[in-house]
Symmetry: C2
Subunit: 331 residues, 2 copies
């Protein structure tokens, strides 16, 4: 079958929508970004996704032609088969028909996938995971996102995505995560957890650099502020981050023992701000604990694509899904 010569990637986030147009070699040729404004409702939101894509097409100078495919990364539990966001608490949307809405507007195949999965797929296709048979991603942020690309395909559930690495339990008791579970990886090693620990260090007078930069409001203690504190010698903050990275290493052990990935890619804002400290500490923690027969079988590395991983992954996954469908139909 003939493919159009450009592909749309879109990343629907809680605060912004990003769309990038790629040519057949996956070089970006146009881009647009809008605030999501999820509170305005899902009808408004679905139109806004389309508007962002249209603006990116305009930017690429191809506003009148039809895309080869659209791939879009979305948060929350999805119905992957029907291309629906079942629930996005951040946006207040329920059963939002992303796929059918975009297909009606752009008259091209649309593939909806989990945003974190698409970030891992982007790294697999264009970043730190190229050429590997099994790639696992680990992204500590407000929660901890994860994904797995296995033999070139996103590993997924029957209806929804999976790889909820933040919800691996690694401690029988311990602090609670956002879902109310105790001792999960997310409760022990998310950026939110690190920020909360760091705020206590500020309160106790143990983190002067962080105090000057961010104070004790944990919404201010973001990745850049943490990196600033580390660079300026806040020992307490360094210990807190190392501690979280050690727990991330414990999570990696479970991932390696179950999935035997060739590479574990760590990403997200906090890792990007402190790649050396976090990746090295997590790697050491994992290599120490893993069974000997797995020790030399996996790498732990930092992501390469930054914020663009999900949108590149979305475009590439959309095209890949199209090709798989075409070859299934033709056989």
């Amino acid at each position: 079958m003939g493919l159009s010569d450009y592909y749309v990637g879109c990343d629907l986030g809680g605060t912004k929508i990003l769309s990038v147009i790629y040519d057949a070699d996956f070089e970006p040729i146009g881009r647009a970004r809008k605030k999501t404004k999820g509170h305005e409702g899902q009808e408004f939101g679905l139109k806004r996704i389309g508007d962002t894509i249209e603006e990116a097409m305009d930017d690429a100078g191809i506003a009148t032609s039809k895309p080869g495919s659209i791939g879009i990364g979305c948060p929350g539990p999805l119905d992957l088969n029907r291309g629906i966001i079942r629930e996005a608490p951040n946006l207040g949307w329920v059963d939002a028909p992303v796929k059918s809405s975009l297909e009606a507007r752009f008259s091209c195949p649309v593939t909806v996938a989990n945003d974190v999965d698409l970030g891992v797929y982007g790294e697999y296709r264009f970043g730190a995971g190229q050429g590997y048979r099994c790639v696992v991603g680990l992204f500590p942020g407000t929660g901890i996102g994860g994904g797995c690309v296995y033999q070139g395909e996103i590993f997924r559930g029957n209806v929804t995505s999976c790889m909820e690495v933040g919800h691996i339990q690694i401690m029988a008791d311990g602090p609670h995560d956002g879902a109310g579970n105790a001792g999960t990886l997310e409760a022990l090693a998310s950026r939110l957890r690190v920020a909360a620990e760091a705020a206590q260090a500020v309160y106790r007078g143990q983190a002067p650099a962080l105090r000057r930069k961010a104070g004790m409001d944990i919404s201010e203690i973001r990745s850049g502020a943490l990196a600033h504190a580390v660079e300026n010698g806040d020992e307490a903050v360094i210990r807190i981050i190392e501690n979280a990275a050690e727990y991330l290493g414990v999570g990696i052990v479970t991932l390696v023992h179950l999935l035997a990935p060739d590479v574990v890619i760590m990403g997200g804002g906090m890792v990007e701000a402190l790649p050396e400290l976090i990746v090295k500490t997590a790697r050491k923690s994992a290599k120490q604990r893993v069974l000997p027969s797995y020790r030399d079988q996996f790498e732990v590395v930092a992501a390469k694509l930054g914020d663009d991983a999900a949108v590149m992954g979305a475009a590439a996954w959309g095209r890949h899904s199209l090709e798989v469908a075409a070859s299934d139909g033709g056989s």
Copy 2:
């Protein structure tokens, strides 16, 4: 391509070798069993595997014809691509060339796989996992074995098998497992752990039925003895088993959050002896803890095939591998 009309399954265990011959409909038509005698060395052992297969072929009355394929399940870290047992501490073998040895003797394609994986594959093809997209197996024994069949294929590492569910860490500290790691599922919920806890209950005078049946020697406290104690009202033993099953439920939560299986199949001697108590308790523990969006997406059930799962799985996997190779070659 033409397939012969019978298929050999073989299960290499620490104490016995079992081989069963199946016809094209996977009905068993012959069977043989021998002691492994691993201590006699791997050359002796490889010959003995072949002898067991030959005896099963004799039993089926087809000694002179060539099998369509041989599938064999082996313990220990394997090189799946080359069909080698890299290390089997129970047998004392290192780099045992199972595949090439059997191919030379029987002149047919041989597929080597992990024995637990083949048990899960057997349940997927013929037992409790039929028709499911993603099947996870959980087999508490001396350790805790696991496996995953995803979209009809055994989930595996690049070289070795994976799904070492016994080595999921679920407690930051706690008892140590056989590999020296603290707080793993195996350390908390294996049959060996249950036996050790039960022996203490006997010592303390809290398990009179178990005392009469098995005493305090943990090598005597096997699945049958535990079931006897439960049936005869040893409350302490019931609590110990329930406690282990609750930990198995915690392990299932991690498996569900990562892999979103449609079904988790529990098997092995202890589960077979006490299916109601263990499966029900583990299911309840898992359903309580899992994220709401996964709660109705998976079943927890008992295995159906018992001891024959691995050998049936081996025969079917051997044939499946042959067919995949043929269709890859033909496309």
